[in-house]
């Protein structure tokens, strides 16, 4: 049911597939974005960033909005009257996230390959393998954030906040613009964001093959521990 509702919802599809693919195709073909010191090819720069963006769209924004409205409309309260446990509900939402992200990976990498992405010296298979591990950790971190936001606010407030946070993370995480474009103090701050950490890992895995700085893995891991704990503490199943 969760998967079917996600894939049949136009707004969800726009968020989780439309926007990432649009960004990749547009900025991959119209060379207006700055790239970094590793490559001049915008597609090579964009594919890892757009994959990270797609994970964030699904595991944070889409989850926060759908769960927020489920809570607002009383769906969660209604499900609470059935034998379904909270753990089972969270597991169902998590499985949905994983399946959707698999679909995203296939489509985005397919579009990237069509635009000429060759994963530099790393090779496509190796690039995908490391990114998959990062994707799992990032999914836990972002899902925790999504539940935290959805459980603390009303449906419309969640919608507004999730989109606002998404925009900030999009612009400030090195996913679309290289981190080198930021000044040093700002770079130090944004490197603490889970989206930046994920972007650094996917960039490293999919472009140079170089081991990503440990800081990025630590930052992502810490978020993956803190946000689920906070969500389980503060999430309320009904607005009242």
């Amino acid at each position: 049911m969760e998967l079917r509702l996600t894939l049949s919802n136009g707004e969800s599809l726009l968020l989780i597939l439309g926007i990432p693919v649009l960004l990749l195709v547009f900025f991959g073909t119209v060379d207006v974005l700055p790239t970094d010191s590793v490559t001049d090819d915008p597609v090579d720069f964009l594919v890892p960033g757009v994959l990270a963006l797609a994970i964030m769209s699904t595991a944070f924004v889409n989850l926060a909005i759908s769960t927020g409205f489920d809570r607002h409309y009383g769906v969660l309260k209604r499900l609470g009257t059935t034998p379904l446990t909270r753990a089972e509900l969270l597991a169902a939402k998590t499985v949905t996230l994983i399946i959707v992200e698999l679909i995203q990976f296939v489509i985005i990498i397919g579009v990237g390959l069509a635009l000429g992405w060759r994963a530099g010296d790393v090779g496509v298979t190796s690039a995908i393998g490391t990114s998959a591990v990062a994707a799992i950790v990032a999914t836990v971190a972002f899902a925790g954030l999504g539940f935290l936001l959805a459980g603390a606010s009303s449906g419309l407030a969640v919608l507004a906040a999730a989109n606002a946070i998404y925009l900030v993370l999009l612009l400030a995480s090195g996913l679309i613009f290289p981190l080198e474009e930021f000044t040093s103090p700002i770079r130090a701050v944004v490197r603490l964001l889970p989206s930046t950490a994920l972007g650094e890992i996917t960039h490293g895995a999919m472009r140079t093959g170089a081991a990503t700085a440990a800081q990025a893995w630590i930052v992502l891991g810490v978020w993956a521990v803190i946000t689920p704990i906070a969500a389980s503490r503060f999430f309320r199943w009904s607005p009242s």
Binding site: L5, G74, G80, T81, T82, S238
Partner: protein, 300 residues
């Protein structure tokens, strides 16, 4: 052994006593209506039974197997973008695919032809019917239905009453809350009348009206009648309590009623309604919930 047991239940919010020491039970196969005006404490009581609210003191118990409780919330949330057939299939699966099939459930609540319509496009009454169908998944041993016929049209109510009665006949203990007297009277085996958080009366509709005797004769006719001669004949004061609604302060004997109808017949005045003897349930309810006085008026 009751299936639903509420014992000395109290629920307090700060200084407000929403439920004040109520006790009642529902047996298997029985339909009990918790009846009361808005704010009486019905939904609060129901929410404690559902597990969404904590009792301040007292206890509630539902003696049913795990997962064998069907619930219809007052504001029933269902996935707006889903379809009735899909949601019923989901809920049946949550109950181990036991009990009536999806098609049977849709038929019981009259939604077969709307089974493929997105839930947000259903009317309020149709959503309520779907809510009841969801509550019936898995053949529950206990049913908690909060305002089950709210917003449902006449035909839909008949279907819902039949579905609830069928569940009770199959052995479920059914507790409904309602502020609609007619629904309570038609559906429930027993009524528990609650006002300001306390039970003011309990019994079958027949028991409640039998215990309450009217102290006069009420009748309706055209407004502003000159009833001077009737007053003399009855030897009692007649008051027009509302336009066209009259009260004769006399013992409601057959002779008095005969004098009244003969008077009206002689003058070819149409009578709308004559009530004497027992109060209607509506009158009992008004007497009990406007102030907590004794049900039976002393005879004059």
């Amino acid at each position: 052994m009751p299936v639903i047991d509420v014992s000395s239940l109290t629920v307090a919010y700060d200084s407000l006593m929403a439920v004040n020491g109520i006790s009642f039970q529902v047996a298997a196969g029985e339909i009990v209506a918790l009846l009361g005006p808005n704010g009486a404490g019905k939904t609060t009581t129901m929410e404690v039974l559902e597990g969404y609210r904590t009792a301040t003191t007292g206890s509630t118990k539902i003696d049913a197997a795990d997962g064998s409780i069907g619930v219809l919330l007052q504001e029933d949330g269902i996935y707006p973008a889903a379809k009735p057939r899909d949601v019923l299939a989901l809920f049946r699966a949550l109950y181990g695919d036991a009990g009536p099939t999806v098609d049977e459930l849709l038929q019981r609540v009259g939604l077969t032809e709307r089974s493929g319509t997105t839930i947000r496009r259903l009317s309020g009454g149709e959503k309520r019917r779907l809510g009841l169908a969801l509550a019936l998944c898995g053949n529950p041993e206990a049913l908690l239905l909060d305002e089950p016929t709210s917003g449902v049209d006449h035909a839909g109510r008949a279907l819902l009453r039949a579905a609830v009665r069928e569940a009770a006949d199959a052995g479920a203990a059914v507790l409904i809350t309602t502020h609609e007297l007619n629904e309570a009277q038609r559906l429930a085996d027993r009524l528990v009348i609650i006002d300001k958080g306390a039970i003011v009366a309990e019994g079958t509709p027949d028991d409640l009206t039998k215990a309450s005797q009217s102290s006069g004769i009420r009748f309706t006719a055209e407004e502003g009648l000159d009833l001077t001669y009737l007053v003399i004949q009855l030897g009692a004061q007649i008051t027009e309590v509302a336009p066209g609604d009259y009260h004769a302060a006399t013992r409601p004997t057959p002779e008095a009623v005969a004098k009244l109808t003969a008077y009206m017949a002689d003058r070819e005045i149409m009578l709308g309604e004559v009530r004497a003897g027992r109060h209607r349930l509506e009158d009992v309810f008004e007497l009990l919930t406007s102030s907590s006085q004794d049900v039976a008026d002393p005879p004059t």
